[in-house]
Amino acid sequence: MPDDDSLKIRKDVWRLATWDPVLDWYARAVADMQTRPITDPTSWRYQAAVHDYVVGRDPIARAGEKLPSTAEQQKFWRQCQHGSWFFLPWHRWYLWYFERIVAATIVKLGGPTAWALPYWNYSDERNPDALKLPPAFRATTMPDGRPNSLLVAERAPACNLGQAVGDALDIDLRRCLTEDMFSVTVFGRGGGFGGPSTGFHHSPGTTGSLEATPHGSMHSAVGGDGWMSAFNTAALDPIFWLHHANIDRLWEVWRRRDPARHTNPTERDWLTMTFDFHDAAGAVVTPSIEQVVDMTAAPLRYTYEDMSDPLAGVPPRLRAPRPLPMEVSPMPEMVAATSRPLTLGTGTTTSALSIQAPTGPARLRSAAGAARTIYLNLENVTGAGAVGGYAVYLNAPPGASASQRADHLAGLLPTFGLAEASRPDNEHGGSGLQIALNVTDLVSRLEAQPGWDSNRLTVEFVYRGAPTDAATIQVGRVSLYYA
């Protein structure tokens, strides 16, 4: 396919007609890619395996089929970056090469050139249907009567019934878009907007706030017990690519929200990192992150239909803490932690923290009158199931109604990537997920309320899925950090 230098516009799927040519050709291209053998780098299954692949757990494996060689699998498969500052740029490249493969397929099938991948903006408050799966992805047939390749049965039941997928908590953008720093690597403060500084990082660990919500929560909300809920099958669902296009768009929305502060990393370790992909012709390419920071520039040359700030008028809630005079940059300090692991099921589990007076950097910061940020860390979260994830509350009154409890919400514990993070054979020996929730506002409000007792801060985990779901989750430790 000849290189087309025009700026492609990725459109909001909900602003397209059900079978707009963009979606009609997408479905045809997906069907064509699904006929290619798994050894073909431009095949549907090969592209999905680039994200992750588990031998013996491929739902559409065929008996006796030949897989790519071990060396090829090591180089190109199981490459998705999670729990890392490479999460966003790797997925940007992944989507871009996928888009080019689809576009080339469309041209081969007699379709238009310059096809662009649409995105699914499930957080669009102007669209009452935003949380529903777009109709083209749940229709049983295409306009020409052929089976619809965009329909996948392995989803949460609500998806294909045209009901809302997830709820407002799953698509909440306030936490991620108000992060001031792209990458945070010190323990106790989470990963920032985009994730902590790491090396090559396929297994999840400490996530950036965008990766947690809405990325992880929507994976689980759409997938249920199905494909989108697991690393190794997520990209088999055609909606995966529109979901990630939205995540990619939110990266740009964040940057534009405050261009002076919301900047990408400038470290050479980030910019010069390379990954291996295949282009539309199946040739090997090894692009670097440096080439991906400006999506409108060559070679990417695309943009999004709508990159307006959904929080327009809402200032950044918290600025990154400024370092003290004796600090080069702020250092978090642990002030409380649980003594025993917690076991979570499909009900409600409560624990308590006793906050110690800080004695290190946090004390000095307090003495200097510096603003304090507080993080609730959920460490070493391991297990399986619990696709609904958990809502975490601080000091919620016993027996409180949903609306009373809402004021005590600390954040979500999404379980996308939980199984992968818990596997003992993963890169980190199964150490699980690490989630950090910014609870500065919440704790400050609780401290101002009568009856506040720093020796007993209750932490409540409430399961958000069905009571009949399978869930065996352990939280190694809950801790509180001042930064």
């Binding site: 642990m334 649980t338 200097a368 190694g476």
Partner: protein
């Protein structure tokens, strides 16, 4: 935010950088401990008999002390990640104590393991004398075992578990116990990954240079981008060493 106090020296950029470095690298003193241990080993190498000759003194405190120094030198650099995790996951006031408690468990298990291995080696000496085997063949056998071990699933799993954090209680005896337990668990995993290389170093020579080489190889395994793949690749030079030792041993036999 108020202006900083007017004591320019304490808040000078140099002091800020040093303090920030110390805050962010609480493991600094364990690195210093390891450096001192290497200096002691080096001094021993030039002034005292080779380490393995202390086998007869293993049941003495001096022998245990020598082994402890060796463990601190060789193994502490491989535990920097869990040491940092221990510090950052502890209350600020006890983070150095937490690291010390971790090292108690870590160095303790390693010291016991090495001593047990050396005692076993002593016990096997009479058997080995009854089965004459040139040094070259002995080295070839341990290198071949080390090479094979690099490829085993047990080694791969243990390597992945090397940097795995464990939850730590915040205070009290439970906190102390958790830190010691963390060190013990980590050391057990480390011993699992490294034991053939340690045996190989003793058979080769107990010289400080050999110890340094083993530490370097193990550090490369742990701190590269793909530790398990690096471990598999290291099987090749070990197998080559086994082959070369065999050839040298055969030549030695033929020419003697």
């Amino acid at each position: 935010m108020p202006d900083p106090p007017t004591t320019p020296f304490l808040f000078s950029p140099a002091i800020r950088s040093v303090r920030s470095f110390i805050w962010r690298h609480p493991e600094w003193w364990s690195v210093g401990l390891s450096v001192v241990a290497w200096l002691v080993l080096t001094w021993h190498a030039f002034t005292a008999p080779a380490m393995h000759d202390h086998g007869m003194g293993l049941i003495s405190w001096a022998g245990v002390g020598d082994v402890t120094v060796m463990v601190v030198a060789m193994m502490v650099p491989l535990a920097l990640v869990p040491l940092r995790l221990t510090a950052f996951r502890s209350l600020w006031a006890r983070r150095h104590a937490a690291m010390a408690q971790y090292l108690l468990g870590y160095v303790g298990v390693w010291t016991l393991s090495v001593n047990a291995a050396l005692i076993a080696q002593m016990a096997m000496r009479s058997w080995l004398r009854a089965v004459p085997m040139p040094q070259g063949f002995r080295l070839a056998v341990v290198c071949a075992v080390a090479a094979a071990w690099q490829l085993t699933p047990i080694k791969q799993r243990a390597l992945r578990a090397c940097h795995q954090p464990l939850p730590l209680a915040p205070a009290g005896w439970r906190a102390r116990g958790d830190c010691v337990r963390y060190g013990i668990v980590n050391a057990a995993v480390c011993v699992t990954t490294m034991w053939p290389l340690m045996v190989m170093s003793w058979v080769l020579s107990a010289h400080v240079a050999t110890m340094g080489a083993v530490t370097l190889v193990c550090a490369i395994e742990r701190y590269t981008r793909f530790p398990t793949r690096t471990a598999r690749k290291l099987a090749l030079p070990l197998a080559a060493l086994a082959g070369a030792s065999t050839v040298m041993a055969v030549i030695g036999l033929l020419t003697s």
